[in-house]
Symmetry: C2
Amino acid sequence: MKRAALVLTGFGNVGRVFFSLLREKADDIQKRYGLALETMAVARAEGCFYSGGPLEGRHVSRGGEPWTKGNPSWREGFRATDVIAELGPGGCLVECTISNLETGEPGMSYISSAFHGGWNAVAASKGALVVGLPALRALAAENGVFLKFSAATAAALPTLDVGLVSLAGARIEGIQGILNGTSNCILTRMGEGLDYTEALREAQDKGIAEPDPAADVGGWDSAAKILLITNTCLDSTYVLKDVHVRGITGISVDFVQSARREGRAVKLLATAAPGRQGVRWSLDVRPSLVEASHPLVHVNGTEKGITFLTDSMGSVTLTGGRSSPRGAAAALLKDIINIYRPPF
Amino acid sequence: MKRAALVLTGFGNVGRVFFSLLREKADDIQKRYGLALETMAVARAEGCFYSGGPLEGRHVSRGGEPWTKGNPSWREGFRATDVIAELGPGGCLVECTISNLETGEPGMSYISSAFHGGWNAVAASKGALVVGLPALRALAAENGVFLKFSAATAAALPTLDVGLVSLAGARIEGIQGILNGTSNCILTRMGEGLDYTEALREAQDKGIAEPDPAADVGGWDSAAKILLITNTCLDSTYVLKDVHVRGITGISVDFVQSARREGRAVKLLATAAPGRQGVRWSLDVRPSLVEASHPLVHVNGTEKGITFLTDSMGSVTLTGGRSSPRGAAAALLKDIINIYRPPF
């Protein structure tokens, strides 16, 4: 049995679901992969849950809410990096904060200090990766540790695994994706007759869209994902400013519905395509008219999908994967297992 | 630069395309993965092409045909295992023979002797795997080598990578696939108006169906694939006799066309589903009426597709992947790269 210590940073929706998913799955993971994964600390901005041993639910919450005051496992002012220093190298940081797409913080500091401490990192947050992926990869290599971020690149839809593992040796000649569930859900409902405002409000009422939906409907979430997928699969170093972004805000219901009547669909497509001479790629996100024969035309509701065009394997399309904190938590867990499991 | 010696067994369609694909890709693979993959021998029933150095096209063929008589690189009676013994451990066998689904030969002997010689193996042929996967996996583990067979399980459609890597930690609760391009092509054309005999003849004229189409239209190719995918992803030991198989031979054009008129489709579905109590799974292949909302309903022509149902990641569907010797060769190459590349 191989043991691995985990430190969880951020304890919002994804962090909490990850924390319980891991306990739900612990026995299975021991049996199937010979791995004992133990959450040793949960770090928040003000301190850590940390008791020196693996954390159980009763150490971190009471009545379903995080429990700090009077909790013997709560260490005010203690930081993730203090835990990492105490535990020594070999563990894995599980980065679930809400990080800023411009500064990359707080994820950037968490991940960098994990690498310096000889820890691997898996991330659900995009900020640090969007801002500094090349530097982070170099730092990981320097410290002999791994960085994985399936949960930040469409989560349960396995975009990076397919791009890196399944298409190994093939030349990727284009990528197209429906990478944001919220805007796809709004477009799907508009195709069914709602106007933009109604469809957005419905998505907000159902908890699908955020109260401030700008990142989703403005295309920035899709832009961050196509950027990370492209840079990872192509080993390139594009930055967010290289992505031409147009979202679906205020899109006309006539456009969406007339497409639908013709058997086509309007989708918020994120695209990476080689430019002339194949040197510099163009990356963009925009509402696009998708033909009836397009492999992503039937991706509806909160579902996501991605198509890779290749030279030797033809086109490979993935669709589905749960769009929810549970799907993101499962993607984090998958990355951790793939870091520690024996080669096969 | 890491070097790996390859020995190719079988020099039919897939073997020949693999041999040239590797030379086409050699520079790319060196640059991207730091790997020099060298085909040291091509073994056929009567002997080997083997000259002591990496083989080029001119060593094995003349005017597009294999060249034995008078060829200084042709060693009559020399066998793959002789080459492996001469080269010493660490190489990879590339198994492309046409192997028998009942005896597993000649693939079984080739793969076993490779393992005994400390070589890894990748396989495009199904026979040895269908007959003896558990024994082969044990033998590989005993010898500290790897066995991969993407090319035998829908080739460029990455079924096993997704089941093993992308769904790590998720519980697979069902698998459904359209795994045979030939029968899917026949059913698609029947939906467009041809009867069974016409659609089969057309597929044969186009080189999609074999002159003897029994393995494809009879469902046995699909059965072998769902068996291998299930046993690999679930770590189970079902045998071919456990699969209930019904093919599409002589299927009624009315059935196919009336489905189509209702927005549904008839597909040759290969299914693995847990039985009661979830203990023993049932595996079957049969022509199935697929609803308009089914993720595989739009998989047409020679295209293939697979859906995994899971507990924590929802359902994940893959479609596409080139159905051709080039797609199979690309899948072999992918498996080889994934055996030798550094962890990432």
